[in-house]
């Protein structure tokens, strides 16, 4: 039994060697990635942060940097035209695997990187986000038919909106999705690698959760290396305490919120009265 375990242990370095030998040559050149701070602490004074990302990639490659995370379900209202005249909510759409945040930056204009960059761009989310078409419920059978009939030439009115395109617009409006170019600074090639660094503006509306920082090295139209590191965003201090109260003891929270509001109202009323205010 003991010899059996020993022989298994002996196998491990051998397997590791085989695994290393099987990887592309560039990846062995000690590619690194660090994100500072390594954890985002959302306290009372949090207003977004500037995250410094640095690392090394194989020599001669360009870098695409992504900050994505906390994928979740999303239920949205879909707007459409009714009677060919009025814009209003006409249905619901359910989406799954939607990252709360997706920031993309690169060392070179993403258009110039060509098709190899496509999966890493915002538009690339089309492949991962699940749009639940069956959940799109229209005004009603009649309403849908009317809208389609009146605006036969207008795709939007007929309920055929490009949900992903609109999702990207919505998220960009909130500054939770962004795509930039040129933000990643590259160092000179030294040996088999080159260094890169970038500062990413993490938005203030960042939901707590686990995020992934990803550096994709691209050379001659191919991905030559990929590094990832995770960043945890968590509530801390007063916001954490308040959030726990609101979610775990919601009745107490609601009653307290009302009572404090009433007391504040009375105090403010009395203060103004004593100063000869209030009429």
């Amino acid at each position: 039994m003991n010899t059996n375990r020993l022989s298994r242990l002996a196998l491990i370095p051998l397997l590791a060697l085989v695994a290393l030998a099987g990887r592309p040559a560039q990846a062995t050149s000690a590619a690194t990635l660090t994100a500072t701070p390594s954890a985002i602490r959302i306290g009372a004074q949090y207003d977004g942060i500037a995250m410094h990302v640095a690392g090394t990639v194989p020599a001669g490659s360009e870098v695409i940097l992504r900050f994505t995370g906390a994928p979740s379900e999303l239920h949205l209202r879909e707007k459409g035209k009714i009677f060919g005249l009025l814009w209003m909510n006409v249905g619901k759409v359910s989406l799954d695997n939607v990252p709360a945040v997706c920031l993309v930056d690169s060392s070179l204009d993403l258009d110039n990187l060509g098709s190899v960059a496509a999966p890493f761009r915002l538009e690339g989310l089309r492949d991962s986000v699940v749009v639940n078409e069956t959940a799109i419920e229209k005004v009603d059978g009649g309403g849908n038919a009317r809208a389609a009939a009146i605006d036969g030439d207008d795709d939007e009115a007929a309920g055929k909106i490009d949900v992903m395109h609109e999702l990207l617009l919505l998220k960009k409006h909130e500054k939770l999705y962004a795509e930039a170019a040129g933000g990643v600074r590259l160092g000179a090639d030294s040996g088999g690698s080159r260094s890169f660094s970038a500062t990413m503006a993490i938005p203030s509306a960042l939901p707590p959760g686990q995020y992934r920082v990803e550096a994709i090295a691209v050379k001659d139209g191919a991905v030559v290396d990929r590094q990832t590191t995770t960043v945890e965003a968590e509530l801390t201090g007063f916001p954490k305490w308040l959030s726990q109260l609101a979610f775990n003891r919601s009745l107490l929270y609601g009653v307290l919120a009302s009572l404090i509001a009433i007391c504040s109202g009375l105090i403010i009323g009395l203060v103004f009265q004593s100063k000869g205010g209030a009429h």
Binding site: D47, L76, V139, D140, E156, I260, G269
Partner: protein, 312 residues
Amino acid sequence: MNLTMNLYLPIAGNSVNCLAIFGLGGVVGLLSGIFGVGGGFLMTPLLMMMGIPPTVAASSDSNQIVGASTSGTLAHFRLGNVDIKMGLLLLIGGIAGGGIGVQIIKILRQMGNADFLISITYVLMLGIVGGYMFLESLQAMRKSARPAEQQPQPRRESVYARIVRSMPLQTDFKRSGIRMSLLLPLALGTLVGVLAAIMGVGGGFIMVPVMVYLLRMPMHVVVGTSLFQILFTCVSVTIMQATQNHTVDFILALLLLIGSALGAQVGAKVGKKLGGEQLKILLASLVLIVMVKMLYDLLVRPDVLLAYMGGH
């Protein structure tokens, strides 16, 4: 010294500039103090523009109105401007109406027509209420410019007055100086409750015209009584939203409250300087402006064709 005015709101999930929130509270509080309306129909869209999710904006605003209406009710109570009996009857009707309205919305959602009905109800109510108040106040102001008798009653209203007089359970409302059936405020309260629930608003801007034109209460008692009634409505909304949806951001509410309390005190002073007719015509203008904005939103293609649930 690094004095930052930003504060992170854990329930809203975003950071806001405290000064901007104070300012917003102040402006809405001013209007609330002058007219006795909660101001929810103004506050919620403005908060959304500042990056607060719609559901959190609406719920936190209700929380804020609890404080603002407490302060307002206190000020008006001291002046003898709160008709508690009338307020309670309207409140009971309002709660019943709110329950009915929620059920109506549920049925409509199943039928799939809810949002269409909500938008149309909103625009029509704002248009009718605003338009009627505006014209009526304009006429009254023109008449009072000449030394004439009290405003003559239109024919349609005298029929209404006869019906009101023939209703059972007549009682005196001393503060308002009127005598009518208990059933009338109950029924009107229910009606407002139904409309408010359908539109998802506190209903102040419908309740005030109802008190003025259908209950014939004096304008200054209307404002105090409306605030008294709003206080109770918003306490129940706050607790309900906190327990069911976790959307009450109490810090946001407190910031808004401090701003709006200051605004409301100034508003109450301004309101006193203005005559009843001027008050009505200003409120009418405000209601009409909101209606035009809503109509514009309905007619012009939105920038983004997807929206988050909740809010308007």
